[in-house]
């Protein structure tokens, strides 16, 4: 179906008065039309908003006529996805009304609606929009999460929430940070009635903001009245305590809450191997940690709080279905050179439904109490290794692989690309002892010169002294990767924490 629309983003209309070749005074020309749609992946029945930029000379007419190769599109560019049984690419077209032979296209990927209550689509695309453009992420796995004011039907869908098996808890970028969140969620308080805030530190940055409660809904799963973090920018109140920022080597600049670009997502869904984001170390009987803060108007102070007040791994909260012992991430194989916008699934529970049987993994690797396993690579044992969907590459030490020229020097550029390598993974307590894992590394500069968003061969250097092999999202493609939560039982399998693939 085709409909006629007036293009309204006048700020994006550009005149090229000085362009040669076609510059007769008094005449007008439309030279090109550029189309973009967000999100770029939707499931059947969902919508994607498309917009067009019309370029021309003279006093041209910026109106466009919208078209879609399947589904429907409104006069204002809102595309509604058709029902599909398998992943389908739909071409969105915007034709200049004035010059019908000038048009632009974009592709929207439509994935089937999942019938399983515990399964939600993952997309690895170029990330959420900022200023009308995707921010350009690579190897970040995103899902859409629904949050609701507890016990109500006042809800919001938030897309581009990053799936992170390296942390725990749902964190949402506030509107002050440029995130799409527009619900007002009830603020959580400590036992004295002070508003609670949290500082969560990652290896390369930190986030700061209030703790609120929300019903978290993903696919058909619900975690009711669950603590979540609302990430705020450095300029917002309450101010970042010094004891928070100084846990990060970048100091104040390590705050990733300033924008969608800095966080790389609209939020983070932490579904790692622990039930709580801090756990017993942050409970009142232990030494106070700079993680949770009471924030009266006089200023924030670090305080320990009960487990029930801490952020939980949302999967741990899906008790009503029994899918609360871990997650399975399924992503398709990605060939050398990468893929554009592949889609997969985040599935809740392990051995709880027909779609999360542990037999889909070849081996189960027990994790130690820190959530780590051991990796032997080039004859060296790295005892603090981990499988982390929130890292966007494989990070490991190999001084024989050259790093890329500037500005990509934090990535590997092997002289023979692909460089085919292998390591062995050992579970905690030698359970299991040494099973080979094969992987390849390609020249990152070449990978980044494509429009692909998913790379199975993207890797970067870290010093051997970190005693770590970080199996980031590159590792997940073409594998079924389970992450089981500490102390949660798995029918027919070991008790968590473990990873299995």
């Amino acid at each position: 179906m085709r409909t006629l629309a007036l293009f309204f983003l006048l700020g994006n209309v550009v005149w090229f008065a000085a362009c040669g070749g076609n510059g007769g005074t008094g005449s007008s020309t439309v030279t090109s039309v550029q189309v973009s749609c967000s999100p770029t992946t939707v499931s059947s029945g969902q919508t994607s908003q498309c917009s067009a930029m019309v370029f021309g000379t003279g006093n041209f007419n910026p109106a466009v006529e919208w078209g879609a190769s399947a589904g429907t599109i409104s006069t204002s560019g809102t595309f509604t996805a058709p029902v599909v049984s398998s992943q389908t690419s739909v071409t969105i077209t915007a034709d200049s009304v004035q010059f019908g032979n000038v048009s632009g296209t974009a592709t929207v990927t439509v994935v089937p609606t999942t019938s399983s209550v515990n399964q939600v689509p993952i997309v690895v695309d170029s990330g959420p929009n900022m200023n009308g453009q995707p921010i350009g992420t690579v190897n970040e796995a995103f899902v859409t999460v629904t949050i609701c004011v507890p016990g109500t039907n006042t809800c919001q869908n938030i897309d581009h929430i990053q799936v992170d098996t390296g942390s725990e808890g749902l964190r949402l970028l506030s509107s002050a940070s440029g995130g799409p969140l527009n619900l007002t969620l009830p603020q959580e308080t400590d036992n004295s009635g002070n508003p609670l805030a949290e500082c969560l530190v990652f290896a390369d940055g930190y986030v700061w903001g209030n703790v609120a409660t929300a019903d978290i809904k993903v696919s058909g799963e619900v975690s009711p009245a669950t603590p979540v973090q609302i990430i705020i920018p450095p300029s917002a109140s309450p101010a970042v305590p010094n004891s928070c920022s100084s846990q990060n080597p970048a100091g104040g600049a390590g705050n990733e809450g300033g924008s969608v670009m800095e966080l790389g997502a609209n939020g983070i869904l932490g579904v790692g191997p622990f039930p709580y984001d801090c756990g017993t170390a942050c409970t009142p009987q232990f030494q106070t940690q700079p993680v949770y803060y009471g924030c009266p108007s006089s200023g924030c102070f670090a305080e320990n709080i009960n487990l029930s007040q801490q952020l939980i791994n949302p999967a741990f909260g899906f008790t009503s279905t029994g899918d609360d012992n871990g997650v399975l991430i399924q992503l398709p194989s990605v060939p050398d050179g990468g893929s554009p916008n592949p889609t997969g699934s985040l599935i809740f529970g392990i051995n709880t439904q027909s779609n999360n049987n542990l037999t889909q993994a070849a081996n189960v690797y027990l994790l130690d109490n820190n959530g780590n396993l051991s990796t032997v690579f080039n004859g060296t044992t790295y005892s603090s290794s981990f499988v982390d969907s929130g890292s966007n590459g494989l990070f490991f030490p190999d001084s024989s692989i050259p790093t890329c020229p500037s500005p990509n020097q934090v990535w590997y550029c092997p002289s023979t690309s692909p460089d085919n390598l292998s390591a062995s993974n050992y579970g905690s307590g030698m359970n299991p002892p040494g099973i080979t894992v094969n992987f390849s590394v390609e020249d990152a500069t070449t990978l980044f010169s494509t429009n692909n968003t998913a790379f199975s061969t993207l890797a970067g250097p870290i010093p051997a002294s970190l005693s770590s092999f970080d199996f980031g999202l590159s590792f997940f493609y073409g594998r079924n990767v389970f992450t089981a939560i500490q102390d949660q039982t798995v029918s027919g399998g070991p008790t968590g924490p473990f990873v299995a693939y």
């Binding site: 846990q247 990509n408 002294s465």
Partner: protein, 165 residues
């Protein structure tokens, strides 16, 4: 025999005396060994010291099991620190005057990654800073952090960077 070399208990005594009279800031990297005790007090930890002849390693273990190791030259200067635990340490205190240097280097990395170059993508993983005057690395994830920082110019002869862990 280097006359500056002291047994661990001598270090402790010297440090305690310095602590008593000077009440130094928490800063340690590049500082004198007195700050080891300051850190022990701050971390409410237990102290274990090992004399490896080319350097002395002081290891502070907190009640929660986190470890901070400080590597001291025979001349009494902290040339390296290493840490591991559920949380990262307070870098402002641990790195002292070098904290700003790490911040500046990371800010430069970040602005390069977030610059206008379309073919540059931000790395989301372990942090590595290597400048001529300082090496800083940290890896891991919430629940398990580990890292090291050292000043190459201060590392005693015969000590490998890989010893600082």
């Amino acid at each position: 025999m280097n006359t500056a070399r002291k047994a661990p208990w001598q270090w402790a005594l010297t440090a305690a005396l310095l602590l008593a009279v000077a009440s130094p800031a928490f800063a340690v990297l590049g500082d004198n060994a007195a700050s080891v005790l300051t850190d022990q007090a701050r971390l409410k930890g237990t102290l274990r010291s090992v004399d490896n002849h080319t350097y002395v390693m002081h290891e502070i273990t907190t009640p929660a099991g986190a470890k901070v190791r400080e590597f001291v030259t025979p001349g009494g200067v902290v040339f390296g620190v290493a840490w591991q635990g559920q949380f990262p340490p307070d870098f402002q205190q641990l790195l002292g005057p070098y904290y700003q240097q790490v911040q500046q280097a990371l800010a430069q990395q970040k602005s390069a990654e977030q610059g206008s170059e379309p073919q540059v993508h931000q790395r989301r993983g372990p942090t590595v800073v290597q400048t001529s005057g300082l090496v800083f690395v940290q890896g891991g994830h919430p629940h398990s952090f580990h890292g090291q920082a050292y000043i190459p110019q201060l590392v005693p002869q015969g000590v490998a960077a890989s010893d600082i862990h």
